[in-house]
Symmetry: C2
DNA sequence: CGTGGAATTGAGCGCGCTCAACGAAGGTGG
DNA sequence: CCACCTTCGTTGAGCGCGCTCAATTCCACG
Protein backbone atom coordinates (compact mmCIF):
# COMPACT_ATOMS: atom_id res chain seq x y z
CA UNK A 1 0.00 0.00 0.00
CA UNK A 2 2.65 2.46 0.99
CA UNK A 3 4.70 2.01 -2.13
CA UNK A 4 5.95 5.29 -3.48
CA UNK A 5 8.05 6.39 -6.41
CA UNK A 6 9.52 9.73 -5.57
CA UNK A 7 12.52 8.94 -7.70
CA UNK A 8 12.38 9.16 -11.46
CA UNK A 9 10.81 12.55 -11.55
CA UNK A 10 12.49 13.95 -14.58
CA UNK A 11 10.89 17.26 -15.06
CA UNK A 12 11.55 19.22 -11.94
CA UNK A 13 15.29 18.94 -12.02
CA UNK A 14 16.37 18.69 -15.63
CA UNK A 15 19.90 17.87 -16.64
CA UNK A 16 22.98 19.77 -17.70
CA UNK A 17 21.93 22.80 -19.64
CA UNK A 18 20.56 24.92 -16.84
CA UNK A 19 18.93 27.31 -19.24
CA UNK A 20 15.54 25.60 -19.08
CA UNK A 21 12.72 26.66 -16.84
CA UNK A 22 11.72 23.79 -14.57
CA UNK A 23 8.15 22.73 -15.24
CA UNK A 24 5.61 23.92 -12.71
CA UNK A 25 4.21 21.01 -10.75
CA UNK A 26 1.45 20.43 -8.23
CA UNK A 27 1.16 17.41 -5.96
CA UNK A 28 -2.37 16.12 -5.52
CA UNK A 29 -3.86 13.33 -3.45
CA UNK A 30 -6.92 11.35 -4.45
CA UNK A 31 -9.08 8.84 -2.64
CA UNK A 32 -10.37 5.59 -4.03
CA UNK A 33 -12.78 6.20 -6.89
CA UNK A 34 -12.01 9.89 -7.34
CA UNK A 35 -11.53 11.10 -10.88
CA UNK A 36 -8.16 12.58 -11.77
CA UNK A 37 -9.32 13.79 -15.16
CA UNK A 38 -12.37 13.15 -17.30
CA UNK A 39 -12.97 12.07 -20.86
CA UNK A 40 -13.87 15.51 -22.06
CA UNK A 41 -11.28 17.48 -20.11
CA UNK A 42 -8.80 19.23 -22.39
CA UNK A 43 -5.43 17.46 -22.38
CA UNK A 44 -3.58 20.37 -20.85
CA UNK A 45 -1.83 18.49 -18.04
CA UNK A 46 0.59 15.61 -17.75
CA UNK A 47 0.77 13.47 -14.67
CA UNK A 48 3.21 11.32 -12.73
CA UNK A 49 1.92 8.75 -10.27
CA UNK A 50 3.93 8.67 -7.03
CA UNK A 51 1.98 6.26 -4.86
CA UNK A 52 -1.21 4.27 -5.00
CA UNK A 53 -2.74 3.18 -8.30
CA UNK A 54 -5.18 4.41 -10.93
CA UNK A 55 -7.15 3.13 -13.89
CA UNK A 56 -7.29 4.61 -17.37
CA UNK A 57 -10.65 3.71 -18.85
CA UNK A 58 -13.37 4.47 -21.33
CA UNK A 59 -17.11 3.96 -21.11
CA UNK A 60 -18.56 2.20 -24.13
CA UNK A 61 -21.87 2.93 -25.80
CA UNK A 62 -23.44 -0.19 -24.31
CA UNK A 63 -22.58 0.90 -20.78
CA UNK A 64 -19.60 -1.40 -20.36
CA UNK A 65 -16.35 -0.08 -19.04
CA UNK A 66 -13.07 -0.86 -20.71
CA UNK A 67 -9.84 -0.29 -18.80
CA UNK A 68 -7.01 0.38 -21.22
CA UNK A 69 -4.24 0.86 -18.66
CA UNK A 70 -3.40 0.56 -15.01
CA UNK A 71 -1.19 3.35 -13.67
CA UNK A 72 1.30 2.27 -11.03
CA UNK A 73 3.98 4.17 -9.09
CA UNK A 74 6.54 5.52 -11.55
CA UNK A 75 4.13 5.78 -14.48
CA UNK A 76 3.47 8.91 -16.46
CA UNK A 77 0.08 9.52 -18.00
CA UNK A 78 -2.18 12.16 -19.43
CA UNK A 79 -0.50 12.78 -22.79
CA UNK A 80 -3.31 12.28 -25.26
CA UNK A 81 -3.93 12.82 -28.90
CA UNK A 82 -6.95 14.94 -29.62
CA UNK A 83 -9.40 12.61 -31.22
CA UNK A 84 -9.67 9.96 -28.55
CA UNK A 85 -9.57 10.51 -24.87
CA UNK A 86 -10.09 8.49 -21.74
CA UNK A 87 -10.72 9.18 -18.09
CA UNK A 88 -8.48 8.32 -15.15
CA UNK A 89 -9.66 7.40 -11.65
CA UNK A 90 -7.75 6.58 -8.49
CA UNK A 91 -7.94 2.97 -7.34
CA UNK A 92 -6.05 3.01 -4.07
CA UNK A 93 -7.29 4.80 -0.97
CA UNK A 94 -4.32 7.14 -1.05
CA UNK A 95 -3.18 7.95 -4.57
CA UNK A 96 -0.61 10.67 -5.00
CA UNK A 97 0.09 12.24 -8.36
CA UNK A 98 2.26 15.12 -9.54
CA UNK A 99 0.52 17.28 -12.10
CA UNK A 100 2.44 19.31 -14.66
CA UNK A 101 1.08 22.00 -16.87
CA UNK A 102 1.43 20.72 -20.39
CA UNK A 103 2.47 24.12 -21.64
CA UNK A 104 5.31 24.53 -19.19
CA UNK A 105 6.43 20.94 -19.65
CA UNK A 106 6.62 21.35 -23.38
CA UNK A 107 8.52 24.54 -22.85
CA UNK A 108 10.95 22.62 -20.67
CA UNK A 109 11.31 20.00 -23.38
CA UNK A 110 11.89 22.67 -26.00
CA UNK A 111 14.54 24.25 -23.82
CA UNK A 112 16.39 21.08 -22.96
CA UNK A 113 16.95 18.29 -25.51
CA UNK A 114 17.61 15.84 -22.70
CA UNK A 115 14.16 16.43 -21.25
CA UNK A 116 12.66 16.09 -24.72
CA UNK A 117 14.45 12.78 -25.13
CA UNK A 118 13.11 11.55 -21.80
CA UNK A 119 9.59 12.46 -22.85
CA UNK A 120 10.12 10.48 -26.04
CA UNK A 121 11.27 7.48 -24.06
CA UNK A 122 8.24 7.73 -21.79
CA UNK A 123 5.92 7.85 -24.77
CA UNK A 124 7.61 4.88 -26.44
CA UNK A 125 7.44 2.99 -23.18
CA UNK A 126 3.71 3.62 -22.92
CA UNK A 127 3.30 2.51 -26.52
CA UNK A 128 5.20 -0.70 -25.88
CA UNK A 129 3.04 -1.36 -22.82
CA UNK A 130 -0.09 -0.86 -24.83
CA UNK A 131 1.06 -3.15 -27.63
CA UNK A 132 2.14 -5.81 -25.15
CA UNK A 133 -1.36 -5.65 -23.73
CA UNK A 134 -2.74 -6.33 -27.18
CA UNK A 135 -0.88 -9.62 -27.03
CA UNK A 136 -2.47 -10.43 -23.68
CA UNK A 137 -5.94 -9.66 -24.98
CA UNK A 138 -5.23 -11.89 -27.96
CA UNK A 139 -4.69 -14.92 -25.77
CA UNK A 140 -7.24 -17.62 -26.33
CA UNK A 141 -8.44 -18.86 -22.97
CA UNK A 142 -9.34 -16.95 -19.83
CA UNK A 143 -6.73 -18.80 -17.78
CA UNK A 144 -4.05 -17.67 -20.23
CA UNK A 145 -5.25 -14.08 -20.08
CA UNK A 146 -5.32 -13.96 -16.30
CA UNK A 147 -1.95 -15.69 -16.12
CA UNK A 148 -0.40 -13.21 -18.51
CA UNK A 149 -2.01 -10.41 -16.53
CA UNK A 150 -0.41 -11.63 -13.31
CA UNK A 151 2.97 -11.72 -15.02
CA UNK A 152 2.54 -8.21 -16.37
CA UNK A 153 1.56 -6.88 -12.97
CA UNK A 154 4.46 -8.70 -11.37
CA UNK A 155 6.87 -7.19 -13.89
CA UNK A 156 5.54 -3.72 -13.13
CA UNK A 157 5.00 -4.13 -9.39
CA UNK A 158 7.25 -2.71 -6.75
CA UNK A 159 7.16 -5.85 -4.61
CA UNK A 160 10.74 -6.71 -3.83
CA UNK A 161 9.97 -10.34 -3.14
CA UNK A 162 10.42 -12.52 -6.17
CA UNK A 163 7.15 -14.40 -5.80
CA UNK A 164 4.86 -11.96 -4.02
CA UNK A 165 2.44 -9.82 -6.00
CA UNK A 166 0.01 -7.29 -4.56
CA UNK A 167 -2.96 -6.46 -6.74
CA UNK A 168 -4.28 -2.97 -5.99
CA UNK A 169 -7.33 -3.40 -8.21
CA UNK A 170 -10.58 -5.29 -7.78
CA UNK A 171 -11.69 -8.35 -9.72
CA UNK A 172 -14.09 -6.09 -11.58
CA UNK A 173 -11.19 -3.94 -12.70
CA UNK A 174 -9.28 -7.00 -13.87
CA UNK A 175 -12.34 -8.15 -15.77
CA UNK A 176 -12.75 -4.80 -17.53
CA UNK A 177 -9.04 -4.82 -18.30
CA UNK A 178 -9.02 -8.28 -19.84
CA UNK A 179 -12.44 -7.89 -21.47
CA UNK A 180 -13.86 -10.93 -19.74
CA UNK A 181 -16.53 -11.24 -17.06
CA UNK A 182 -15.88 -11.04 -13.32
CA UNK A 183 -17.01 -14.58 -12.85
CA UNK A 184 -14.53 -15.81 -15.41
CA UNK A 185 -11.71 -13.91 -13.70
CA UNK A 186 -12.64 -15.52 -10.43
CA UNK A 187 -12.86 -18.95 -11.98
CA UNK A 188 -9.51 -18.54 -13.70
CA UNK A 189 -7.82 -17.51 -10.47
CA UNK A 190 -9.36 -20.49 -8.70
CA UNK A 191 -8.19 -22.72 -11.52
CA UNK A 192 -4.65 -21.39 -11.24
CA UNK A 193 -4.77 -22.00 -7.50
CA UNK A 194 -6.07 -25.51 -8.10
CA UNK A 195 -3.21 -26.15 -10.54
CA UNK A 196 -0.71 -25.08 -7.93
CA UNK A 197 0.49 -22.12 -10.00
CA UNK A 198 -0.50 -19.46 -7.47
CA UNK A 199 -1.55 -19.22 -3.86
CA UNK A 200 -3.44 -16.48 -2.05
CA UNK A 201 -1.93 -14.88 1.01
CA UNK A 202 -4.81 -12.44 1.28
CA UNK A 203 -7.53 -11.55 -1.18
CA UNK A 204 -5.20 -9.31 -3.12
CA UNK A 205 -1.82 -10.79 -2.32
CA UNK A 206 -0.79 -13.54 -4.72
CA UNK A 207 2.19 -15.86 -4.49
CA UNK A 208 3.54 -17.00 -7.84
CA UNK A 209 4.57 -20.56 -7.14
CA UNK A 210 5.29 -21.94 -10.60
CA UNK A 211 6.13 -18.93 -12.67
CA UNK A 212 7.51 -20.94 -15.55
CA UNK A 213 4.09 -22.40 -16.22
CA UNK A 214 2.59 -18.94 -16.53
CA UNK A 215 5.29 -17.85 -18.95
CA UNK A 216 4.91 -20.89 -21.17
CA UNK A 217 1.15 -20.59 -21.26
CA UNK A 218 -0.72 -22.53 -18.65
CA UNK A 219 -3.31 -24.00 -20.93
CA UNK A 220 -0.91 -25.94 -23.07
CA UNK A 221 -0.83 -29.18 -21.15
CA UNK A 222 -0.93 -28.45 -17.48
CA UNK A 223 -2.40 -31.06 -15.25
CA UNK A 224 -3.34 -30.49 -11.64
CA UNK A 225 -0.64 -31.62 -9.25
CA UNK A 226 -2.91 -34.30 -7.97
CA UNK A 227 -6.66 -34.09 -7.99
CA UNK A 228 -7.06 -36.06 -4.81
CA UNK A 229 -4.24 -34.27 -3.07
CA UNK A 230 -5.39 -30.73 -3.77
CA UNK A 231 -8.81 -31.38 -2.40
CA UNK A 232 -7.45 -32.35 0.97
CA UNK A 233 -4.95 -29.50 0.72
CA UNK A 234 -7.48 -26.84 -0.02
CA UNK A 235 -9.33 -27.42 3.20
CA UNK B 1 -3.15 0.74 -54.81
CA UNK B 2 -1.23 3.74 -55.99
CA UNK B 3 -1.96 5.75 -52.88
CA UNK B 4 1.08 7.62 -51.72
CA UNK B 5 1.90 10.00 -48.92
CA UNK B 6 4.89 11.98 -49.96
CA UNK B 7 3.63 14.88 -47.92
CA UNK B 8 3.98 14.92 -44.17
CA UNK B 9 7.62 14.01 -44.18
CA UNK B 10 8.80 16.05 -41.29
CA UNK B 11 12.37 15.11 -40.93
CA UNK B 12 14.01 15.96 -44.18
CA UNK B 13 13.04 19.59 -44.22
CA UNK B 14 12.79 20.78 -40.66
CA UNK B 15 11.32 24.09 -39.70
CA UNK B 16 12.58 27.50 -38.85
CA UNK B 17 15.83 27.13 -36.95
CA UNK B 18 18.08 26.11 -39.77
CA UNK B 19 20.82 25.03 -37.43
CA UNK B 20 19.77 21.36 -37.43
CA UNK B 21 21.28 18.72 -39.63
CA UNK B 22 18.58 17.09 -41.75
CA UNK B 23 18.27 13.41 -40.90
CA UNK B 24 19.80 11.04 -43.42
CA UNK B 25 17.10 9.07 -45.16
CA UNK B 26 16.94 6.16 -47.58
CA UNK B 27 13.94 5.23 -49.68
CA UNK B 28 13.31 1.50 -49.94
CA UNK B 29 10.77 -0.55 -51.83
CA UNK B 30 9.43 -3.90 -50.63
CA UNK B 31 7.30 -6.55 -52.24
CA UNK B 32 4.41 -8.36 -50.66
CA UNK B 33 5.58 -10.51 -47.76
CA UNK B 34 9.06 -9.05 -47.51
CA UNK B 35 10.31 -8.20 -44.05
CA UNK B 36 11.18 -4.58 -43.34
CA UNK B 37 12.71 -5.36 -39.97
CA UNK B 38 12.76 -8.39 -37.72
CA UNK B 39 11.96 -9.02 -34.09
CA UNK B 40 15.58 -9.23 -33.04
CA UNK B 41 16.92 -6.40 -35.16
CA UNK B 42 18.28 -3.56 -33.05
CA UNK B 43 15.92 -0.58 -33.08
CA UNK B 44 18.37 1.72 -34.82
CA UNK B 45 16.06 2.98 -37.57
CA UNK B 46 12.77 4.81 -37.80
CA UNK B 47 10.49 4.48 -40.77
CA UNK B 48 7.86 6.39 -42.69
CA UNK B 49 5.48 4.56 -44.98
CA UNK B 50 4.90 6.38 -48.26
CA UNK B 51 2.80 3.92 -50.25
CA UNK B 52 1.43 0.43 -49.90
CA UNK B 53 0.81 -1.15 -46.51
CA UNK B 54 2.57 -3.20 -43.87
CA UNK B 55 1.80 -5.25 -40.79
CA UNK B 56 3.43 -4.97 -37.38
CA UNK B 57 3.23 -8.37 -35.74
CA UNK B 58 4.60 -10.80 -33.20
CA UNK B 59 4.80 -14.57 -33.28
CA UNK B 60 3.47 -16.20 -30.13
CA UNK B 61 4.88 -19.22 -28.38
CA UNK B 62 2.08 -21.42 -29.68
CA UNK B 63 2.82 -20.53 -33.28
CA UNK B 64 0.00 -18.06 -33.68
CA UNK B 65 0.61 -14.66 -35.16
CA UNK B 66 -0.71 -11.52 -33.58
CA UNK B 67 -0.84 -8.33 -35.62
CA UNK B 68 -0.62 -5.31 -33.33
CA UNK B 69 -0.78 -2.62 -36.01
CA UNK B 70 -1.37 -1.99 -39.65
CA UNK B 71 0.89 0.64 -41.21
CA UNK B 72 -0.73 2.78 -43.87
CA UNK B 73 0.55 5.68 -45.99
CA UNK B 74 1.49 8.53 -43.68
CA UNK B 75 2.31 6.34 -40.70
CA UNK B 76 5.61 6.35 -38.86
CA UNK B 77 6.90 3.20 -37.23
CA UNK B 78 9.99 1.52 -35.86
CA UNK B 79 10.41 3.42 -32.60
CA UNK B 80 10.54 0.65 -30.05
CA UNK B 81 11.32 0.30 -26.40
CA UNK B 82 14.00 -2.23 -25.66
CA UNK B 83 12.21 -4.98 -23.86
CA UNK B 84 9.56 -5.85 -26.39
CA UNK B 85 9.93 -5.81 -30.11
CA UNK B 86 7.95 -6.82 -33.10
CA UNK B 87 8.58 -7.45 -36.76
CA UNK B 88 7.20 -5.54 -39.73
CA UNK B 89 6.38 -7.01 -43.15
CA UNK B 90 5.08 -5.42 -46.32
CA UNK B 91 1.54 -6.33 -47.29
CA UNK B 92 1.08 -4.58 -50.61
CA UNK B 93 2.90 -5.57 -53.78
CA UNK B 94 4.66 -2.24 -53.88
CA UNK B 95 5.40 -0.83 -50.46
CA UNK B 96 7.62 2.23 -50.25
CA UNK B 97 9.18 3.34 -47.00
CA UNK B 98 11.64 6.03 -46.03
CA UNK B 99 14.19 4.83 -43.52
CA UNK B 100 15.93 7.19 -41.13
CA UNK B 101 18.91 6.44 -38.99
CA UNK B 102 17.75 6.68 -35.43
CA UNK B 103 20.95 8.38 -34.39
CA UNK B 104 20.70 11.14 -36.94
CA UNK B 105 17.00 11.59 -36.34
CA UNK B 106 17.51 12.01 -32.63
CA UNK B 107 20.29 14.46 -33.39
CA UNK B 108 17.85 16.38 -35.55
CA UNK B 109 15.31 16.35 -32.72
CA UNK B 110 17.92 17.52 -30.24
CA UNK B 111 18.91 20.33 -32.58
CA UNK B 112 15.41 21.51 -33.35
CA UNK B 113 12.65 21.64 -30.71
CA UNK B 114 10.03 21.71 -33.44
CA UNK B 115 11.20 18.39 -34.78
CA UNK B 116 11.26 16.99 -31.25
CA UNK B 117 7.70 18.16 -30.75
CA UNK B 118 6.61 16.49 -33.98
CA UNK B 119 8.20 13.24 -32.84
CA UNK B 120 6.27 13.54 -29.59
CA UNK B 121 3.03 14.02 -31.47
CA UNK B 122 3.77 11.00 -33.63
CA UNK B 123 4.42 8.87 -30.57
CA UNK B 124 1.25 10.05 -28.84
CA UNK B 125 -0.69 9.39 -32.00
CA UNK B 126 0.61 5.84 -32.14
CA UNK B 127 -0.27 5.39 -28.49
CA UNK B 128 -3.80 6.63 -29.05
CA UNK B 129 -4.15 4.25 -32.01
CA UNK B 130 -3.00 1.36 -29.89
CA UNK B 131 -5.37 2.19 -27.04
CA UNK B 132 -8.27 2.65 -29.44
CA UNK B 133 -7.51 -0.82 -30.74
CA UNK B 134 -7.80 -2.16 -27.21
CA UNK B 135 -11.39 -0.97 -27.28
CA UNK B 136 -12.01 -2.82 -30.53
CA UNK B 137 -10.54 -6.03 -29.13
CA UNK B 138 -12.75 -5.62 -26.10
CA UNK B 139 -15.92 -5.77 -28.16
CA UNK B 140 -18.06 -8.76 -27.40
CA UNK B 141 -19.18 -10.30 -30.67
CA UNK B 142 -17.25 -10.94 -33.84
CA UNK B 143 -19.63 -8.81 -35.90
CA UNK B 144 -18.96 -5.88 -33.60
CA UNK B 145 -15.21 -6.37 -33.85
CA UNK B 146 -15.22 -6.57 -37.63
CA UNK B 147 -17.56 -3.60 -37.83
CA UNK B 148 -15.32 -1.51 -35.61
CA UNK B 149 -12.36 -2.65 -37.65
CA UNK B 150 -13.98 -1.43 -40.86
CA UNK B 151 -14.65 1.94 -39.26
CA UNK B 152 -11.06 2.23 -38.06
CA UNK B 153 -9.71 1.40 -41.48
CA UNK B 154 -12.11 3.84 -43.08
CA UNK B 155 -10.97 6.57 -40.70
CA UNK B 156 -7.34 5.89 -41.59
CA UNK B 157 -7.79 5.16 -45.29
CA UNK B 158 -6.95 7.53 -48.07
CA UNK B 159 -10.10 6.78 -50.03
CA UNK B 160 -11.64 10.10 -50.90
CA UNK B 161 -15.10 8.62 -51.37
CA UNK B 162 -17.20 8.77 -48.25
CA UNK B 163 -18.45 5.19 -48.45
CA UNK B 164 -15.69 3.34 -50.27
CA UNK B 165 -13.05 1.45 -48.34
CA UNK B 166 -10.16 -0.52 -49.81
CA UNK B 167 -8.69 -3.18 -47.58
CA UNK B 168 -5.05 -3.86 -48.45
CA UNK B 169 -4.79 -6.85 -46.13
CA UNK B 170 -6.03 -10.41 -46.38
CA UNK B 171 -8.75 -12.01 -44.26
CA UNK B 172 -6.01 -13.85 -42.42
CA UNK B 173 -4.40 -10.55 -41.49
CA UNK B 174 -7.72 -9.23 -40.23
CA UNK B 175 -8.19 -12.38 -38.18
CA UNK B 176 -4.77 -12.08 -36.58
CA UNK B 177 -5.46 -8.41 -35.93
CA UNK B 178 -8.80 -8.98 -34.23
CA UNK B 179 -7.70 -12.20 -32.51
CA UNK B 180 -10.48 -14.23 -34.07
CA UNK B 181 -10.37 -17.01 -36.64
CA UNK B 182 -10.43 -16.47 -40.40
CA UNK B 183 -13.70 -18.30 -40.68
CA UNK B 184 -15.29 -15.99 -38.15
CA UNK B 185 -14.03 -12.94 -40.04
CA UNK B 186 -15.55 -14.27 -43.21
CA UNK B 187 -18.82 -15.10 -41.50
CA UNK B 188 -18.99 -11.66 -39.89
CA UNK B 189 -18.45 -9.93 -43.23
CA UNK B 190 -21.13 -12.08 -44.81
CA UNK B 191 -23.44 -11.25 -41.93
CA UNK B 192 -22.83 -7.52 -42.37
CA UNK B 193 -23.55 -7.89 -46.07
CA UNK B 194 -26.71 -9.81 -45.27
CA UNK B 195 -27.80 -7.04 -42.88
CA UNK B 196 -27.33 -4.49 -45.61
CA UNK B 197 -24.60 -2.66 -43.73
CA UNK B 198 -21.89 -3.20 -46.32
CA UNK B 199 -21.58 -4.32 -49.91
CA UNK B 200 -18.62 -5.72 -51.79
CA UNK B 201 -17.47 -4.04 -54.97
CA UNK B 202 -14.54 -6.41 -55.30
CA UNK B 203 -13.06 -8.85 -52.79
CA UNK B 204 -11.22 -6.07 -51.00
CA UNK B 205 -13.35 -3.06 -51.82
CA UNK B 206 -16.13 -2.46 -49.33
CA UNK B 207 -18.99 0.01 -49.54
CA UNK B 208 -20.23 1.23 -46.18
CA UNK B 209 -23.95 1.55 -46.75
CA UNK B 210 -25.30 2.11 -43.26
CA UNK B 211 -22.42 3.58 -41.35
CA UNK B 212 -24.54 4.67 -38.42
CA UNK B 213 -25.30 1.06 -37.58
CA UNK B 214 -21.61 0.25 -37.39
CA UNK B 215 -20.95 3.19 -35.11
CA UNK B 216 -23.78 2.33 -32.76
CA UNK B 217 -22.78 -1.31 -32.58
CA UNK B 218 -24.43 -3.59 -35.05
CA UNK B 219 -25.30 -6.34 -32.63
CA UNK B 220 -27.57 -4.27 -30.47
CA UNK B 221 -30.83 -4.87 -32.23
CA UNK B 222 -30.25 -4.99 -35.92
CA UNK B 223 -32.63 -7.02 -37.99
CA UNK B 224 -32.00 -8.00 -41.57
CA UNK B 225 -33.72 -5.71 -44.03
CA UNK B 226 -35.82 -8.56 -45.23
CA UNK B 227 -34.86 -12.17 -45.06
CA UNK B 228 -36.71 -13.12 -48.17
CA UNK B 229 -35.52 -10.12 -50.09
CA UNK B 230 -31.84 -10.54 -49.39
CA UNK B 231 -31.83 -14.09 -50.62
CA UNK B 232 -33.08 -13.04 -54.00
CA UNK B 233 -30.75 -10.07 -53.90
CA UNK B 234 -27.65 -12.08 -53.17
CA UNK B 235 -28.01 -14.07 -56.34
C1' DC C 1 -22.20 -6.64 15.56
C1' DG C 2 -24.89 -5.67 11.46
C1' DT C 3 -24.71 -4.51 6.65
C1' DG C 4 -23.54 -4.10 1.80
C1' DG C 5 -20.46 -4.72 -1.75
C1' DA C 6 -16.92 -7.96 -3.38
C1' DA C 7 -15.71 -12.55 -4.45
C1' DT C 8 -16.73 -17.28 -5.41
C1' DT C 9 -19.23 -21.18 -7.28
C1' DG C 10 -22.98 -23.51 -9.93
C1' DA C 11 -26.35 -24.35 -14.06
C1' DG C 12 -27.58 -23.61 -18.72
C1' DC C 13 -26.95 -21.67 -23.14
C1' DG C 14 -25.02 -19.27 -27.20
C1' DC C 15 -21.04 -17.67 -29.83
C1' DG C 16 -16.83 -18.65 -31.84
C1' DC C 17 -13.24 -22.27 -32.66
C1' DT C 18 -12.00 -26.50 -35.05
C1' DC C 19 -12.24 -29.64 -38.72
C1' DA C 20 -13.70 -30.19 -43.28
C1' DA C 21 -15.09 -29.37 -48.02
C1' DC C 22 -15.53 -26.50 -51.88
C1' DG C 23 -15.02 -22.48 -55.03
C1' DA C 24 -12.32 -18.49 -56.64
C1' DA C 25 -8.19 -16.19 -57.86
C1' DG C 26 -3.53 -15.66 -59.03
C1' DG C 27 1.13 -17.51 -60.37
C1' DT C 28 4.18 -20.72 -62.83
C1' DG C 29 5.82 -23.66 -66.35
C1' DG C 30 4.95 -26.32 -70.21
C1' DC D 1 -2.74 -20.43 -74.32
C1' DC D 2 -4.16 -23.92 -71.16
C1' DA D 3 -3.12 -27.25 -67.37
C1' DC D 4 -1.68 -27.30 -62.91
C1' DC D 5 -1.07 -25.85 -58.29
C1' DT D 6 -1.05 -22.98 -54.30
C1' DT D 7 -3.24 -19.75 -51.53
C1' DC D 8 -7.21 -17.26 -50.23
C1' DG D 9 -12.06 -16.96 -49.24
C1' DT D 10 -16.51 -18.85 -48.05
C1' DT D 11 -19.83 -22.01 -45.93
C1' DG D 12 -21.35 -26.02 -43.05
C1' DA D 13 -21.41 -29.26 -38.75
C1' DG D 14 -20.30 -30.14 -34.06
C1' DC D 15 -18.39 -28.97 -29.73
C1' DG D 16 -16.22 -26.40 -25.87
C1' DC D 17 -15.36 -22.11 -23.45
C1' DG D 18 -17.05 -18.07 -21.52
C1' DC D 19 -21.29 -15.23 -20.68
C1' DT D 20 -25.59 -14.72 -18.10
C1' DC D 21 -28.47 -15.40 -14.27
C1' DA D 22 -28.57 -16.85 -9.62
C1' DA D 23 -27.29 -18.18 -4.92
C1' DT D 24 -24.00 -18.24 -1.33
C1' DT D 25 -19.92 -16.90 1.18
C1' DC D 26 -16.40 -13.70 2.42
C1' DC D 27 -14.68 -9.51 4.00
C1' DA D 28 -14.30 -4.56 5.00
C1' DC D 29 -16.83 -1.03 6.28
C1' DG D 30 -19.55 1.83 9.81
Amino acid sequence: MGITASSNRLFDCASGGGKQTPARSTTLTYRRGQQIYGEIDPPDHWYFLCSGAARNYALLADGRRRIVDFLLPGDYFGFRARYRSFAVEAIAQQTEVVRYSRRSLEAAADGDPWVAGQVREIAFEALARSQARLLILGRVTAVDKVGAFLLEMKARSSDADETTLTLPMSRYDIADYLAISVETVSRALSELRRLGVIRFAKKNRVLLLRRRLLEDGVDRDTKPVSLRFEKTCAA
